[in-house]
């Protein structure tokens, strides 16, 4: 399996009518756009980079290369905000 992508287990979150809101341990509030929400839902720890890129390609009808590029960019941003952990095997 490719590099594991998992939600930060210290976060609180809720999806309301397709919109995702996340609360950080320091109380910061984050909203995810549609693409980030899709990645978030698949980041339960049982899928890696490649599997999630496959899901994105299928969902948005783009090539796998385009999906990989978008996902890589997204993961950098979400990891920077400590919302996702990449390379960890912990369940979120």
């Amino acid at each position: 399996m490719s590099e594991c992508v998992v939600r930060n287990p210290r976060l609180a979150w809720r999806e309301v009518d397709g919109e995702m809101i996340i609360i950080s341990p320091d109380g910061q509030v984050h909203e995810l756009n549609e693409t980030a929400t899709l990645v978030w839902k698949h980041a339960a720890g049982d899928k890696g980079f490649e599997e999630i890129a496959d899901e994105m390609a299928a969902e948005y009808d783009v090539t796998l290369e385009e999906a990989r590029a978008d996902l890589a960019e997204l993961l950098v941003a979400l990891e920077h905000k400590q919302l996702l952990l990449v390379g960890s095997s912990r369940k979120g």
Partner: protein, 395 residues
């Protein structure tokens, strides 16, 4: 506590759509302290079981609840407290706790940290153990609570001190503030002493009068801006309610508060109220699904229909902007969800006076003033008026 634009939008959305965004669950009314101002009956009249609470939490998660507060009573008296917190975190709630912390040791603090509890509110009544322990009626309680706060801080957990002020600790606010600064934790000074949930009003005698509170609210140590007539009253004052979230939002402009709009309270026996300070029975989760109560209870609808601009007395009040009227206390103390009540009016007048308004008077107090005899006044001004036929006045 002003919100970020993102949070404010979510508050507005959840208020408009009546989503139960924030829920306060009292897990028990049992307690290992006997605080003199406590509004609860500490006997166990049949608390919900672990399975029942888990079922409620699952329903809340499905209903869209994000913010969950576990309170009591003393929550650590429940043997299943960590099981419930873990279950709540597995459902991705933002979990806050309210506790006296007496039962928190280093190991329990570590477990709370591992479960990513976000905030823990602890009541401190004074930095003087004589005063604090006299209020809790447990000797040594201040020392144990402070030790627990340090265990929690050592784990990097966010602790907030709440200091309810009553006659017994009126002057303690300064030493509690200093203690909070020394510990590096936020604190809130709560001026609210409420009736007991069974309607017993005897606790209200513990309240400080508005006159007694004036020097506290004007103390420059608490409010550096209070000397300026231009400053908004209480602008920087760390006062608030220890039971409410303290969240401010433009979404609450014409509704009294979040109660019943995007928040509610559930008792250890499964009763659902709009708020812990508004004991209007709307239903019981042991008998009905939560969402059925939330969406269809007539009492919940009645609370939701209240608009500040339509309150019969308060909407006419000239010092409304200084008032922190609580609809639950209006019900409990004045017997009318829509009514004005004495304490809110006194406090509004106090704050208006602090803001430089000469002789402020609330609409309720204005109504109670002796009314002038308009007929007699008119007769004095116009001796012929009393004999003038009404038809001629109109004509």
């Amino acid at each position: 506590m002003p919100q970020t634009p993102v949070m404010d939008r979510w508050i507005r959305e959840t208020v408009n759509r009546h989503l139960p965004w924030s829920v306060h669950v009292d897990l028990t009314y049992r307690c290992n302290e006997r605080c003199i101002h406590c509004y609860l009956d500490h006997e166990d009249h049949g608390e919900m079981s672990t399975a029942e609470i888990k079922n409620v939490l699952s329903q809340l998660a499905e209903s869209g609840t994000l913010f969950l507060t576990f309170s009591g009573g003393e929550i650590f008296l429940r043997q299943d407290i960590f099981e419930l917190i873990e279950f709540a975190r597995d459902l991705h709630f933002d979990v806050s706790l309210k506790t006296n912390a007496l039962l928190i040791d280093a190991e329990r603090a570590r477990r709370l940290r591992d479960l990513a509890v976000r905030k823990i509110q602890v009541s401190i009544y004074s930095a003087d153990p004589e005063v604090h322990d006299a209020i809790t009626k447990v000797r040594g309680s201040l020392a144990r609570t402070l030790a627990a706060i340090r265990f929690l801080q050592a784990q990097g957990l966010l602790v907030k001190i709440a200091c309810p002020l009553m006659k017994q600790n009126l002057t303690a606010y300064r030493n509690v503030q200093a203690l909070a600064q020394e510990l590096g934790v936020p604190y809130v000074m709560d001026l609210t002493i409420t009736p007991k949930m069974d309607g017993d009003m005897s606790l209200l005698q513990l309240r400080n009068s508005a006159a007694e509170l004036l020097p506290v609210l004007q103390d420059p140590v608490l409010n550096p801006h209070s000397c300026s007539r231009d400053a908004a009253p209480s602008a920087a004052l760390p006062t608030g309610s220890a039971v409410s979230s303290g969240i401010e939002s433009s979404a609450y402009e014409d509704i009294p508060c979040s109660a019943g709009h995007n928040s509610c309270y559930i008792s250890p026996y499964g009763d659902v109220y709009p708020c812990v300070q508004m004991p209007l029975a709307t239903g019981n989760v042991r008998q009905q699904p939560f969402l059925e109560i939330w969406n269809h209870s007539p009492e919940m609808s009645r609370v939701r229909a209240v608009r500040e601009s339509q309150l019969p007395v308060c909407s006419t009040c000239s010092i409304r902007q200084y008032c922190e009227r609580c609809p639950g206390l209006a019900q409990m103390e004045g017997g009318d969800l829509l009514g004005a009540y004495e304490r809110a009016c006194e406090m509004a007048e106090l704050k208006a006076r602090m803001a430089g308004i000469a002789e402020p008077i609330s609409a309720l107090h204005l109504q109670k003033l002796p009314q002038p005899d308009f007929c007699a006044l008119q007769s004095q001004a116009d001796p012929a008026s009393s004999s003038r036929p009404i038809a001629s006045v109109r004509g």
